[in-house]
Symmetry: C2
Subunit: 310 residues, 2 copies
């Protein structure tokens, strides 16, 4: 069986994802030592208060010294900077991975800096919430969630197997995918939904005929689901937009085209076209529930939760 234990794991970036990894690694004793590094002194202090690791440093270069596994969990736009900082300090044979939501860009930013003998395997755990920062992480975030690894031509099969086993130890189900294809898939299932959510919340905020307090008061009727997505980390999402541009623009064009069709059907009272679409989409929802990607409790079981709390 593949050994998922490491002597020293360096976590570069300690937000929602990084800190969840730290918690899981600690909980399962997957590393003899966890070193945490982040650019912000305040965040690093908070990580230490939360006792997420064993050692803490503002220097990514220092953090990776002697590490067997380096996990980079920063906004994707910072990937190259991190790669530059750590490249010359990596231990020969070390494995470097990341958790970014876009893969082609991260590879383009990091791969050229990786010395030979380093196993660089990009990855993307599809897990998270709208919260950010080290306090937002929690034990078990990756349980039952998919993690997509996007190996590059140089990837060593043994290292890949070890990283896969690591994510599986954290409870993830692991898939492998071509980086470009990953970026298209994520553009439609994640990036576009977030962009649309940000957009509609912005539109509502700008209205003159409906007040902001009315929007807030009656948000339960659909709008609030969008506000949750639109509360996600601005830096992370700015970077996703800038670093998965082509796939996002392609999906946005399709979306807008479809929306124009829908708009025209509404204008001309073509109820049959509306009914056809509104029926078709139900089937997809059913498949998602069947695939275990959501619970079937109505309204996301929010009522159940409300009752539990009250």
């Amino acid at each position: 069986m593949t050994d998922v234990h490491f002597d020293k794991i360096a976590l570069i970036g300690i937000g929602l994802i990084g800190s969840s990894i730290a918690r899981d690694v600690k909980d399962q004793g997957l590393a003899r030592e966890i070193v945490i590094s982040t650019r912000s002194a305040e965040t690093l202090k908070r990580a230490e208060e939360l006792a997420l690791g064993d050692n803490y440093t503002l220097s990514a270069a220092e953090a990776v010294e002697g590490a067997d596994l380096v996990v980079v969990s920063v906004p994707v736009g910072a990937s190259e900077s991190v790669a530059r900082q750590i490249a010359q300090h990596l231990k020969p044979g070390a494995m470097v991975t990341d958790v970014g939501s876009t893969k082609a860009s991260v590879i383009a930013q990091m791969a050229p800096h990786m010395p030979s003998g380093i196993h660089f395997i990009p990855g993307h755990p599809i897990a998270g919430t709208e919260k950010s920062g080290p306090d937002a992480g929690f034990l078990g975030l990756f349980k039952g969630r998919w993690c997509i690894l996007t190996p590059i031509p140089e990837t060593d099969a043994g290292a890949l197997a070890r990283l896969r086993a690591f994510w599986e130890a954290l409870g993830s189900r692991v898939d492998e995918m071509d980086p470009q294809h990953h970026d298209k898939v994520l553009a439609i299932v994640s990036h576009l939904p977030h962009i649309i959510a940000y957009n509609i919340v912005g539109t509502a905020d700008d209205l003159e005929t409906v007040t902001e307090s009315e929007v807030i008061k009656y948000s339960a009727s659909g709008f609030r689901d969008f506000t949750r997505l639109a509360a996600s980390d601005p830096t992370m999402w700015r970077d996703v937009c800038l670093h998965n541009r082509d796939a996002i623009l392609e999906m946005l064009a399709r979306f807008s085209e479809d929306l124009a069709y829908l708009q025209r059907a509404i204008r001309w009272g073509e109820g049959d076209k509306l009914f056809e679409l509104f029926t078709r989409t139900r089937a997809i929802r059913r498949s998602i529930v069947e695939a275990g990607q959501d619970v079937d409790a109505p309204d996301f079981g929010r009522h159940a939760l409300d009752e539990k709390k009250s």
Copy 2:
């Protein structure tokens, strides 16, 4: 204190909303008799199996005979047909209300048919889930939710107070609003989000480069929130689109304009514009949580729920 008890309540339509009203009325003994009417024999049979009322009939005209309160809970496009059927059978002094998501259209469809001496007060409880049909209703659906009444010039103050007290007895918080304004508010907080959700799920379904099974598999990353909305009742939503056309087209135009701006910012790499919007929308989310319109649990507390279930 205003009496919220009725001798006979007629429920025309027994879907998610109608059947939830039936459950609450029965639970609290707000009526000596509940009569249920719906167009579909199958649905009526199911309502009877669920023991939602005291008497059941396929004839709306028969149902309203002798009723003090008539609650019409049908897709808004069926409002005129119901008004025609019941008009000549209403008891003098009876109160007629509805629960439709658009108000100007319902008033235009129903008011001309209401005989003098009938108190017609349109209403809209902002409550529901993506489920539909009599099995989808539940006790307490309206608890803590807003109900908007949109009185018309002829509305009698005493009748209005009584209907308000009725909804308050069901746990609702009641607001009064001009029908046209209601339609604009709902266009942005509810109708547009649903239309956008239907649209994006349709777009995803049509892609050639990403398979449907991939969309389903990785839906947890944002997409699934849209699929829930897009699983709502097709007939209801077709009618909403057709009957709140002007307000919806206005909001859609604003949304598309804003999306074009965002798209351009992505194309030209204008990270500052993206960051500004993505930051602004966070504040609205905060206000919604503060206003008690959503719980602050990350990911809608889905993890908490998952853990509870597992």
